[in-house]
């Protein structure tokens, strides 16, 4: 049976994992490679590394970070942030990413999704990060998700900027609306705080995967303990892991 994925997200700024509330007030949360390996050991089904400042800063630090992080990671590894062209995507893949997540650049030029799909094959890697922080999307989320799918995105990573870092729960209404509108898997992101938030977003939000960051940092909870509780609530998860 296909299981619901629990994805650990590392927001990275200048080569360090950081966490803030609604993308501001950043706190240092460690070395990306060390943190990614720890999450994989503790049962995360996938690791997402988002370079939250890459749009503004140099790419080399990120590529080095991706290379170091990928080296000993044997679960799927997605990288996002500042990918503005098919060449940028190729560099991130060569550094060891299995998927790329694109947002701002795709909004500015939706053809980028097609271009990355043509180079690398849609199924594997084109994950479109819908919503996001800093820049207002300026388009209806559902409509944008549907367009991303038509252009060959393999998954939708749906982040609610309003819920991000609040630990007050996922935006289940938005997640369900997107999930019902597209034929590709939807990853819910933003607001994870309790086990009930996850059961809720899988049931009511119709999500295929859920992503969390703050809940896993600073030893609050591990993916394994979260998944054990989800299993007790009847959610299919990968256990033992």
């Amino acid at each position: 049976m296909l299981t619901k994925r629990i994805i650990a997200c590392l927001d990275v700024h200048a080569g360090r994992v950081v966490k803030g509330v609604q993308f501001v007030d950043l706190i240092d949360a460690g070395d990306p490679a060390t943190q990614a390996a720890r999450h994989a050991r503790e049962g995360a089904d996938e690791i997402v590394l988002l370079d939250i400042t890459a749009t503004h800063e140099g790419r080399q630090t990120l590529l080095d970070t991706v290379r170091r992080t990928a080296l000993e990671l044997f679960v799927p590894f997605c990288v996002g942030g500042g990918i503005k062209s098919a060449d940028d995507a190729e560099q991130v893949f060569e550094a060891g990413a299995d998927k790329v997540s694109i947002n701002s650049a795709a909004l500015a030029d939706p053809g980028l999704i097609d271009a990355i799909g043509r180079s690398f094959g849609a199924v594997r890697d084109a994950q479109v990060f819908v919503h996001g922080g800093r820049k207002p999307v300026g388009r209806r989320v559902v409509e944008w998700a549907r367009e991303a799918e038509q252009r060959g995105a393999g998954e939708i990573l749906l982040t609610s900027m309003d819920s991000d870092g609040t630990r007050a729960g996922f935006d289940c209404e938005l997640t369900a609306a997107v999930s019902e509108a597209v034929g590709i898997p939807v990853i819910a992101s933003g607001g994870a705080g309790t086990v009930a938030h996850f059961t809720d977003v899988f049931a009511r939000g119709k999500a295929h995967a859920a992503l969390a960051a703050s809940i896993f940092h600073f030893g609050v909870s591990t993916s394994r303990s979260l998944k054990e509780e989800l299993a007790r609530s009847g959610v299919p998860v990968r256990l033992p892991c």
Partner: protein, 204 residues
């Protein structure tokens, strides 16, 4: 131990190479040097992208060289599209033939309310006698990401259920394929790759 990894320029090989090296293999990559395939001890064909991209294997002569290597008994592992290529073809690119080691063709998942691609960790029902999947317990999970799949037949080494039962792994003698990504499937995937690296041709 040496592994020849085939590059058909449809995507990157980083994950597969890194994982094989982690398991102690020496990797040699070729995108068309037939002498490398002729001297290969074992061959991995990683799979990414569209089935049509396997045309490059024909154009470079790799298809013929791989066929000869398989006939010599060289252990061969196809991953994802690399497994699909072992069949006669795929409805993803009907004009492009596969190797034809297995007579059937790959098809897209049937229309349903479930999402396609099939992305995520799903469990394996391993059939007895598989050497590639030796030691994989019932219900162990592996990571999939694909829209096309091979049918369940006598050569199927493991079955997975999504929309319909499909071949998660195929195996006949020294020819093996996995629809999932063992390089991304945690300890279970590493165990399967170790089995492939330990595979000795004279045991078949």
């Amino acid at each position: 131990m040496r592994v020849t990894v085939i590059d058909y320029k449809a995507g990157n090989l980083t994950s597969v190479l890194k994982t094989l090296k982690h398991l102690g293999a020496e990797t040699i990559v070729t995108d068309g040097d037939l002498s490398i395939v002729e001297a290969a001890e074992r061959i991995v064909l990683p799979g990414v992208g569209h089935f049509a991209a396997t045309h490059r294997l024909d154009a470079t002569g790799l298809t013929r060289a791989i066929r000869a290597a398989i006939a010599r008994g060289v252990p061969f592992l196809g991953i994802c599209v690399g497994m699909q290529w072992l069949y006669a073809g795929s409805t993803e690119a009907p004009e492009q033939p596969g190797l034809g080691a297995f007579a059937e063709s790959c098809t897209r998942f049937a229309e349903s309310t479930e999402k396609v691609p099939h992305v995520g960790w799903n469990s394996l029902e391993v059939r007895s006698g598989s050497r590639l999947l030796n030691g994989v317990e019932p219900g162990e999970f592996v990571y999939f990401t694909h829209s096309y799949k091979g049918p369940v037949t006598a050569d199927t080494a493991a079955v997975t259920h999504y929309i319909e039962p499909f071949a998660a792994a195929v195996e006949r003698g020294n020819v093996m394929g996995v629809q999932f990504h063992p390089e991304k499937s945690g300890e279970t995937g590493l165990k399967i790759l170790r089995n492939f690296l330990a595979w000795e041709a004279n045991r078949c």
